[in-house]
Symmetry: C2
Subunit: 335 residues, 2 copies
């Protein structure tokens, strides 16, 4: 699945080269089946792996020769410009944070992903790196998301919303209320929309959705589950009658375009933001098409030199945040 | 919308009678347009209303003659057996809790709703009554949900899951981990499945999904938003080409059945569980069909005498919980 995915990704990012960390005796024969990939890929043998149920802290301490760790080390020492893994998310984050370090002003990295909306695409973070978040964490996520939307989604003035249980200022927990106050009263050059609710995600009300990792993870997976349910029901309805089958056959191209547009594999590849290096996490259960998306996400982040732009922007933003926290301006940045 | 909805609901619950609290000068002429409803409905005039942006604590203190409060009072004094409102959720919960009181052993009522799944229907709670929840709150929600699933969904042995960011025991925050430990180690006659993730909701992995009000509200609304996005995309795809339009016309009946099955108005009517009385909250933005669903939910809860069954079950369960907390048995109830 991984090698086939990388091979597919070459269509979209033909200038990429790959270091493949894993069991050489298994990887080399598999690689031989992909002649095009063979010319731009190199196997680095290691028999150590991080299992899916390994505790991140244990993996960090003991799995220094694992494929995951060696792949991250390659980014840390400049041999590679980005890492993609379909393995244990917690271990990947713990190792990436330890090896690559966070960017200046960022306490905790966040996991971000694209999300399809009625208006196109938005970005949502955090999706599970931080189960509990302070107001400061959420403010940092807002800044990371804004910079990402500007640099990667190429939006001139992305809008930011904090996910909450209502649009009114008094709704929610302390963390979201305080974060909203900081963002609304700061001088940060951010278009802070205010609170958004769950249904605003699909509606595309804002370009960046900020939330803690517990809520974000559940919201994302709930949406995926709902999409799967609806696709299942649609198929059942259309195949359940003769006219349904006939209509579906006629509308085949339209239905295929619809399905492809919402295919979760197209949105595979969660980005770790706030690290001194590119790190992308693929869904463990995806296939070659999904893994190709994750590789393309990493490749895009690397080849566009986006991390450098993001780093510069972060430095600018985080100076602003520090100043704001010492001397609140009381001025509302934007609507 | 409200009167038309009640009129529609009469098709499904013809033996119901209605007290309508609100501005008589507006309600009476509207009611005259619904001859069938007129014979079973009575207007109770009041000009006071609770607005949508009223703080619940303020509404509780000052709005003693509001339509919302008088409707709840009618349940409190036995004149009515249940109340349905499309108004301010927080105020409705605060007033209902104050007037009707919670059932023995329940610290905080929860908001529950049906959720469509691949296997039929599940029930999810809390959906916003309690933004922050302790482990004990979550355990009480599990008991309320279990009793509800048995009495209302008529499931012999409903399965219970706690919503989390992973299935493993070490995942999540303190509240979900502790609640899972209490449920797994208790002698409660409950089939506790363990943790479920967001995509398990639509998959129907368990019959009862337990979560805090912050996460539950966002998960529910995210799913609604995703459903709306998909319906929008489907329509756009089918109307975008000639063969798409032709196919859709042929498959019209199948597509209609599909749309109707997932119509969010069918799932309108959130139930307040844990109160000494029936209280149902309708979506504020729904139409007559949606309001009819909310009335039917309340009517079903009333006519089946379910609250009595639930009360008896609660008493049984809560005794068990108290005993468990004093002397943990260490025995796993079920898989």
């Amino acid at each position: 699945m991984v090698l086939e995915g990388i091979d597919r990704a070459l269509d979209r990012c033909p200038d990429s080269r790959f270091l493949l960390f894993g069991d050489g005796s298994r990887l080399t024969p598999l690689l031989d089946r992909h002649p095009r990939l063979s010319t731009v890929a190199e196997v680095r043998h290691t028999s150590d792996v991080v299992t899916d149920d390994e505790k991140p802290s244990v993996a960090l301490r003991t799995a220094r020769n694992s494929s995951m760790r060696l792949a991250i080390d390659a980014v840390g020492n400049g041999e590679a410009q980005g890492v993609v893994s379909a393995g244990n998310t917690g271990a990947l984050m713990a190792m990436a944070k330890f090896v690559l370090k966070t960017l200046p002003g960022i306490d905790r990295p966040a996991i971000a992903t694209y999300f399809p909306t009625r208006r196109g695409e938005s970005v949502m973070l955090d999706l599970g790196a931080n189960v509990e978040c302070s107001a400061d964490n959420l403010v940092q996520f807002a800044v990371m998301g804004e910079v990402f939307a500007r640099n990667v989604l190429k939006l001139a003035q992305p809008t930011i919303g904090i996910l909450n249980v209502g649009a009114e200022g008094r709704k929610g927990n302390d963390a979201v209320r305080q974060a909203a106050t900081i963002l609304a009263e700061s001088d940060l050059p951010i278009r802070f929309h205010g609170f958004v609710e769950g249904d605003d995600i699909g509606a595309g009300t804002v370009d960046v959705i900020v939330t803690d990792g517990f809520t974000g993870n559940i919201a994302l997976k709930t949406a995926e589950g709902m999409a799967r349910l609806i696709m299942h029901e649609l198929k059942a309805a259309l195949t359940g009658s003769f006219t349904g089958r006939l209509g579906a056959a006629l509308a085949r191209d339209a239905l295929r375009a619809f399905r492809d547009h919402l295919d979760p594999r197209r949105y595979n590849g969660a980005m770790f933001l706030g690290l001194n290096g590119i790190c992308v996490k693929s869904h463990g259960g995806t296939d070659a098409l999904g893994f190709a998306s994750a590789v393309q996400v990493a490749s895009k982040l690397v080849t566009d030199g986006l991390n450098e732009g993001i780093k510069a922007d972060y430095a600018h933003f985080t100076t602003d945040i520090s100043e704001d926290r010492i001397e609140p301006s009381g001025q509302v940045a934007t609507g």
